[in-house]
């Protein structure tokens, strides 16, 4: 059991009106709903506006390097698979600098909850294009507009067989909190890509832009159908579906690792005597 106040952290240094505030509200709401206590969660983050997130709530925190949330989170889970682990990343952080880790965390199905603050721009470094920036968007470093096509995170996640793929919108706190609760409820790697307006640098994908486009997936939508999920994931234009796009039960990495069948590593006692047998093999 916890209260929203227990999840209150440092004063945010985000811009007034930033979409990150909605994510923070949704997160605190989700934590209370889940009854998680701050010391029973480890939050990992990278560098960017999203990277500051854990400081603005209150919980165990490893605010590491730009792009490296997922390996840190993976290491934590492997050392202590009794602790829930949430990773907070930016779109640049996760799909740019950290793209490789993202692919492989999905392959492992390590039980980490990944929340991507997808503002389709580099916020903290002042407005360069990110991997999800819309082609044509002009920025100080892309004066002729973004030339590469945008990466569609949910489509790639589904192609990777990611076991839980959702899309949320920071302007829809209620749904977002629900998606967070669902992500924590899912056993396995969970991606929640959160559309998050950056009011300072992204003049294209504004609150209004998103609001005009997002809609909730129908109540009878079946997230277990991979092909349908893939089709819906590609929808990112006039209309953008939000909700749980894809979900699949499969064993987590922790479940598959024989050595984690018992207590977590962090609880194992030192047993030097076992080495006698290992030494014997060397004679």
């Amino acid at each position: 059991m916890s209260t929203s106040d227990e999840w209150r952290g440092q004063k945010p240094a985000w811009c007034p009106g930033c979409g990150n505030f909605g994510i923070l509200t949704a997160f605190r709401r989700a934590m209370v709903e889940l009854g998680l206590e701050p010391h029973r969660l480890i939050a990992v983050s990278g560098i960017g506006q999203s990277g500051k997130f854990p400081h603005y709530t209150r919980c165990n925190t490893f605010n590491g390097l730009h792009g490296r949330t997922l390996p840190v989170a993976t290491g934590i889970r492997l050392a202590n698979h009794e602790m829930p682990v949430a990773a907070f990343a930016g779109d640049g952080d996760c799909y740019g600098e950290g793209g490789n880790h993202w692919l492989h965390a999905m392959r492992r199905n390590i039980d980490v909850k990944l929340f991507v603050h997808d503002n389709q721009v580099y916020g903290l470094t002042k407005g360069q294009a990110s991997p999800t920036s819309v082609p044509g968007m002009k920025t100080p470093t892309q004066p002729a507009g973004v030339l590469a096509d945008e990466l569609n995170p949910v489509a790639v996640a589904i192609a990777m067989g990611c076991s839980f793929v959702a899309r949320g919108f920071s302007g829809d706190v209620e749904q977002l909190a629900g998606l967070m609760v669902a992500a924590f409820g899912h056993k396995g790697f969970s991606l929640v890509d959160i559309l998050q307006p950056c009011v300072s640098f992204n003049r294209l994908n504004t609150f209004e832009w998103y609001r005009d486009r997002v809609y909730h997936l129908e109540s009878d939508y079946d997230p277990g159908d991979r092909s349908a999920a893939y089709e819906r994931a590609l929808e990112f234009g006039e209309r953008i579906p939000t909700g749980v796009l894809y979900r699949q039960e499969r064993p987590t990495y922790e479940d598959r690792l024989p050595v984690l069948a018992g207590a977590p590593l962090v609880r194992l006692p030192l047993e030097p005597d076992r080495l006698t047998r290992t030494l014997e093999e060397l004679y």
């Binding site: 165990n60 390097l65 390996p71 290491g75 050392a79 602790m83 492989h104 050595v259 962090v266 194992l268």
Partner: protein, 570 residues
């Protein structure tokens, strides 16, 4: 008695299997041995060799003269025939070489045919070779039979054929080497054979390591393989990461969560870990990193040896933070280095780098055994009830020593917060100058002298006041020590071997710089071109090594090679 056996062949021909069987025979007989490998970066073909030196006294380094040469390919005799010692003999496969050599020192052996004729199969040709070597040496074949029985325990159906092949080879070796006059004395007690990388893995387990993440890279892969193979028994997670960046960040995550963790790689992979090293420095997260050197730059010679990464290891990572760099040269030094690495990284919360190289990693030594009680283990972390009992908790609290309490997240209602940004005592990011300066004082100025105080001076071996001092580090231990032994009778000579390189040992706490300064020749011996250690020593002590011996062709120093280079100083 001090014999060298060289087994040459193509990759895939199984020369390592022969080498390993013979090594077990020698070590189980109580003899001392040292072996090393020379191989190409390919899986089949080319020319590799495996070289074993064995003796009734400890041996530590490669020698050049070969007493028994076994050639499985056509290149062995042309390449190594000239290395035979006065009493040396060679066996070769006439089918592979396509010719018969007239030289009486070279005996053609139809390995495959003998294997088949004896009742085994073609694949047992290597067993024939092993048996033949023992026959030439005048050693009993029963030792090899026992080794084969053990090694093949999972394939019992193969034992009989192999034993027959071994005997056939042994008969051949005993009867067809008229020049052979070897005499191998009885050794005392059985010994184990341990490879450099195995020693590191074993020591990590004995030091309480619970997490090893790495990406395969020669010559560090042996650690990964050893630990993976023993993970279940010893309660470790061994994770092959998607890349080296992930490997070090996983290790840091595991360490943050409360377990001792390690990673390992070679120079190119270490490059990708550099940012993580700096992250360990900033977040004060313990981690041990093995950097197994090979010749660079870039991919270089992936399967060869070099010692060019000392300063690279020393300054890897932006910003300033303390670190420890250790460089063991033998399995015993490795046990101690790994154990100290885990102790120091947990005690001071600074990264510790263990610098080895291919020559260390792939060589094997015989040991009487491993004294498990010599491994020390102090848990410096705040966990469980002790953590719960704390009234407050600040991950980066300012303290007298600069070391803050390292707690296990989840064990108490306190939260554990750390940040790669500059932070306050609570671990939250800050912008102000005053906190920044205090944090640098804490992390660097306070810890550094304490860590320096832990560092051991170099090992001084030989004359107490030498005229000639050989100075070196890491895997050159064995060859330097043997050179001192070889020259001690006629010369006032000693070795200073550094296995703890950074912080540089305190010259005011020991007399090693006096030894160096008062030597007529202090000769710095390194396997690199520019003298990385010599440079470090000058930066730290002002002493300028005028005399240097370098090898940088990717091959290790041999005893004879080093003695020849030393000749000008004698």
């Amino acid at each position: 008695m001090d014999y060298t056996i060289k087994i040459g062949g193509a990759a895939g021909q199984g020369i390592a299997t022969i080498g390993e069987s013979l090594s077990k025979v020698f070590s189980r007989s109580g003899l001392h041995l040292f072996s090393f490998q020379d191989y190409e970066s390919r899986v089949r073909g080319g020319h590799n060799f495996f070289q074993i030196r064995f003796s009734d006294r400890p041996v530590l380094a490669p020698r050049e003269p070969v007493d028994v040469l076994v050639g499985l390919d056509g290149e062995s005799i042309p390449l190594h025939g000239g290395e035979l010692s006065d009493i040396g003999s060679a066996l070769y496969d006439p089918t592979a070489s396509g010719t018969e050599y007239g030289d009486p020192r070279f005996t053609g052996v139809p390995f495959k045919r003998l294997a088949v004729d004896s009742g085994g199969a073609e694949v047992m040709a290597n067993t024939v070779a092993s048996g033949a070597v023992l026959g030439m040496l005048g050693m009993d074949v029963s030792l090899l039979e026992a080794v084969l029985t053990d090694t093949l325990s999972r394939h019992p159906e193969a034992v009989e054929g192999n034993v027959k092949a071994a005997r056939a080879g042994h008969d051949f070796g005993s009867n067809n080497c008229p020049r052979c006059s070897f005499s191998v004395p009885e050794g005392s007690g059985r010994k184990m054979v341990i490879e450099g990388n195995q020693a590191l893995g074993l020591a990590a387990i004995a030091s309480g390591c619970r997490f090893y993440s790495a990406y395969p890279m020669t010559p560090s892969t042996g650690i990964l393989t050893f630990l993976a193979g023993h993970a279940e028994r010893h309660g470790l997670v061994v994770e092959q990461a998607e890349d080296e960046i992930a490997a070090i960040n996983m290790a840091l995550g595991a360490s943050f969560a409360g377990v001792r963790s390690m990673t390992g790689t070679s120079g190119g992979g270490f490059a990708l870990m550099v940012e993580g090293v700096s992250l360990a420095g900033m977040t004060e997260t313990p981690v041990v990193i093995v950097l197994a050197q090979r010749p660079g730059p870039a991919t270089g010679l992936p399967t060869r040896t070099e010692q060019a990464d000392l300063l690279y290891a020393l300054f890897a990572g932006h910003g300033e933070f303390p670190r420890v760099v250790l460089a063991p040269g033998t399995p015993e030094q490795a046990f101690r280095a790994v154990n100290r690495a885990f102790d120091l990284t947990e005690k001071y919360q600074v990264p510790v780098i263990i610098l080895t190289d291919q020559h260390y990693a792939d060589s094997t030594w015989s040991l009487d055994g491993v004294d498990l009680s010599a491994f020390e283990y102090t848990d410096y972390r705040v966990r469980g009830d002790a953590f719960k009992a704390l009234p407050t908790y600040r991950r980066h609290a300012f303290t007298e020593t600069g070391v803050s309490p390292l707690a296990v997240p989840g064990d108490a209602p306190h939260v554990v917060v750390t940040d790669s940004d500059e932070h306050d005592e609570d671990g939250h990011l800050i912008e102000d100058a005053a906190t920044r300066a205090r944090m640098v004082d804490k992390r660097f100025l306070k810890k550094m002298p304490l860590i320096r105080g832990e560092i051991e001076p170099p090992l001084h071996y030989g004359s107490p006041a030498p005229e000639i001092t050989l100075v070196g580090w890491g895997s050159n231990y064995g060859v330097m020590k043997e050179a001192v032994d070889a020259l001690s009778a006629s010369r006032d000579i000693a070795m200073l071997h550094f296995s703890e390189l950074y912080p540089f040992p305190d010259e005011s706490a020991s007399d090693f710089m006096d030894v160096i300064r008062s030597s007529k020749h202090a000769i710095c011996i390194e396997s690199n071109v520019s003298g990385r250690f010599a440079w470090l020593a000058r930066a730290e002590t002002g002493f300028d090594f005028k005399d240097r011996i370098s090898r940088y062709d990717g091959r290790p120093f041999t005893l004879e090679g080093l003695l020849e280079e030393l000749d000008v100083y004698l």
